[in-house]
Symmetry: C2
Subunit: 84 residues, 2 copies
């Protein structure tokens, strides 16, 4: 089994109203040292070992379903040998 951790973030050029709202809340709570907040998604996929190329399959899943590549970027990390 593999554990694949996918990080999805809004592209730099895309406004993040949710992040802006969180930043304002933090400032109201006196965390004035916070300069910027960006909010994204974090997905953990548990994937069985198969004959197929894991990287190619994960990229396909991301680009077809998990990530909106028009406004989002993604990266992922693979951990091997997660016990079943």
């Amino acid at each position: 089994m593999y554990k694949v951790k996918v990080f999805v973030t809004l592209r730099e050029s895309v406004l993040d109203p949710q992040g802006t709202a969180v930043k304002s809340s933090l400032h109201r709570m006196s965390y004035n040292e916070v300069d910027d907040v960006r909010i994204g998604k974090y997905l953990e996929l548990t994937i069985e070992k198969t004959e197929q190329d894991l990287d190619a399959r994960v990229r396909e899943m991301c680009e077809k379903l998990l990530v909106n590549t028009v406004i989002e970027d993604y990266r992922y990390e693979v951990e091997e040998g997660v016990p079943q």
Copy 2:
């Protein structure tokens, strides 16, 4: 400046209906090797250097605002020296 990356995940014991829906979609798209999907949040905070203890401040922000510790776990990583 510091860049703090916060990963928020649902606790193991908490059902993740969004993850279950994504898993079903992946299966319908023939990605049958996907055994489990868990969905969480990923936050990037840009924080100015201050006299205060960064770790203590980040933990406070997480526990007071960013994370619902009843149903969620979190961990974070600090990257130093992000250019202003």
